[in-house]
């Protein structure tokens, strides 16, 4: 099958690749570009581990065809830290012991980031709603909810 060109911005860097038509964004990111932070849990859009941010929207990269992302601005958890300093969400997840095996963590953090970008001071219900598309097998969710609330508080204190 003929390969098709794709070009997008990933965490601020221009990326251009030739891919098989029909390749998912998840596979393009992981296998072509080498960003393995989005995880392939179910490959059918039910677990949320592959979540990325495309033009500001939370998207499941396992259900997104890479060739539909031409010109898009894509963000993944791998691009959150700045100069070795962790993003407040990453810091909060660590401090809250909100990760065990870590497989769901990048998707959780992406979902939380979209929430906090839009709702800087979310309620607990807002956080639960935002995380409801992401499955975690280890933590029982409560430490994750607490981490997101903590990161929101840290953000609002920095802004003040």
């Amino acid at each position: 099958m003929a390969k098709v060109p794709v070009q997008f911005t990933l965490n601020g860097s221009e990326k251009a690749e030739f891919i098989e038509s029909g390749t998912t964004l998840l596979n393009a990111l992981r296998d072509k570009i080498g960003d393995t932070s989005p995880k392939g849990g179910c490959h059918q859009g039910t677990c949320g581990a592959c979540s990325v941010i495309i033009d500001g929207e939370l998207r499941l990269s396992c259900l997104t065809l890479a060739e539909t992302c031409n010109g898009a601005d894509i963000k993944t958890t791998a691009g959150l830290a700045e100069g070795g300093v962790l993003h407040p969400l990453q810091r909060a997840f660590l401090d809250a012991f909100a990760t065990q095996c870590g497989f769901c963590t990048p998707g959780m953090i992406m979902a939380a980031k979209v929430l906090l970008d839009r709702t800087p001071n979310p309620s607990r219900d807002d956080v639960v709603e935002a995380l409801s598309g992401n499955i975690c097998r280890c933590t029982g969710y409560e430490p994750i909810i607490q981490a997101v609330l903590t990161a929101a508080r840290a953000n609002s204190q920095n802004a003040a």
Binding site: V127, S132, I135, Y141, P143
Partner: protein, 334 residues
């Protein structure tokens, strides 16, 4: 038709490890030329924190800071033998093996330091900060870095140790059937409060209050993390999860996360965790295995709470609305 409330309690004893052909774990410890310590294991860290705990155990035994210890795990082709990470055995079995290996390595380390300081090894102690000093005369000291350099380049010695921990296979006594299939029991008790809708059969877990007796919490925050997640998983087992809802018939078995149900972040019960520490005699620094144990007491507690709420005993898991409604129908039919 109404929403009925019930409360159930359950307590469990849970064994650490298992009794098949014997239950061994082995560990190797050696120092690098810079005086860091490498622990080689075949045991697997799958997120429960084994690397952190083994680093703490090794560091405590040798007498160095935890960040001076590196854990290499999970290559069963090349590593020392371990039966695996299951049966809540990791901390207990691998921990005991690491202690034995680290003790042997510590002894070599002290012997090399003794030669450098020209004192008797039995007069030496570690300061926990990376130095070895003479008891009562801490000004006479040598860094473990320098001890390692000496061992490697001057003395031709390997600062290393071997650890072997084996629970032998237990056979039942012919007369009584008595045997010791496992060691070191952890304990837990849970009180669950539920609401049961007797029209739809739906169960909502309102609160779970758990008490866990786990020997000794070697890393309290990581223990809490395990217990909170385990309590959630216990409820998931009680009410949601099954691969074969009509076991042994495979029909309607879940094939993906749409069908294999688990409680999501919106379905959380208010959860309390209390940890009791009663160090076990044969555990590493008193630890028992909290891993699997912590997801068990919620299941009978929820079943008892459902009985308290609507008067039917569900003896097949998970306790689905269908099973409750069938039981209620049978109860009404008398």
């Amino acid at each position: 038709m109404a929403i009925r409330r019930g409360r159930g309690v359950a307590a469990i004893n849970y064994p650490t490890g298992m009794n098949l052909g014997g239950d061994p774990t082995q560990a190797l410890v050696h120092s690098t030329p810079t005086g860091n310590f490498m622990v080689t294991l075949s045991s697997v860290d799958l997120g429960q924190g084994m690397k952190q705990i083994m680093a703490q155990i090794c560091a405590e035994t040798i007498g160095v800071p935890t960040d001076r210890v590196v854990i290499d795990t999970a290559d069963t082709d090349t590593g020392p033998h371990c039966m695996g990470t299951f049966a809540s055995r990791g901390t207990h079995r691998a921990g005991n093996a690491v202690i034995q290996a680290a003790k042997e390595a510590r002894q070599v380390m002290l012997e090399v330091a003794a030669e450098e300081l020209e004192v008797n090894a039995s007069d030496l102690e570690t300061d926990g900060q990376g130095n070895i000093q003479v008891k009562g005369a801490p000004q006479k000291s040598i860094s473990i870095f320098d001890v390692a350099l000496s061992a490697h380049f001057k003395r031709g010695r390997s600062i290393s140790g071997r650890g072997m921990f084996l629970i032998p296979r237990s056979y039942p006594e012919k007369e009584t059937g008595a045997m010791k299939p496992s060691t070191c029991y952890a304990h837990a008790c849970t009180v669950a409060e539920v609401e049961v809708d007797d029209e739809t059969g739906e169960v909502t877990v309102l609160t779970v209050k758990n008490v866990f007796e786990i020997g000794r919490a070697l890393n309290p925050k990581m223990v809490e993390q395990q217990l909170v997640g385990g309590s959630w998983m216990g409820i998931s087992h009680a009410l949601y999860e099954t691969t074969e809802p009509y076991y042994p018939n495979r029909d309607h078995g879940g094939t993906d996360f749409n069908q294999y149900l688990m409680p999501g972040p919106g379905d959380l019960a208010q959860t309390e965790i209390t940890v009791l520490e009663r160090p076990s005699a044969d555990g590493p620094f008193g630890a028992k295995g909290p891993g699997e144990m912590c997801a068990n007491p919620q299941i009978p507690a929820v079943a008892n709470a459902v009985f308290d709420a609507v008067g039917v005993r569900i003896d097949t898991l998970p306790i689905t609305p269908e099973r409750i409604l069938r039981a209620l129908k049978a109860q009404a039919a008398g």
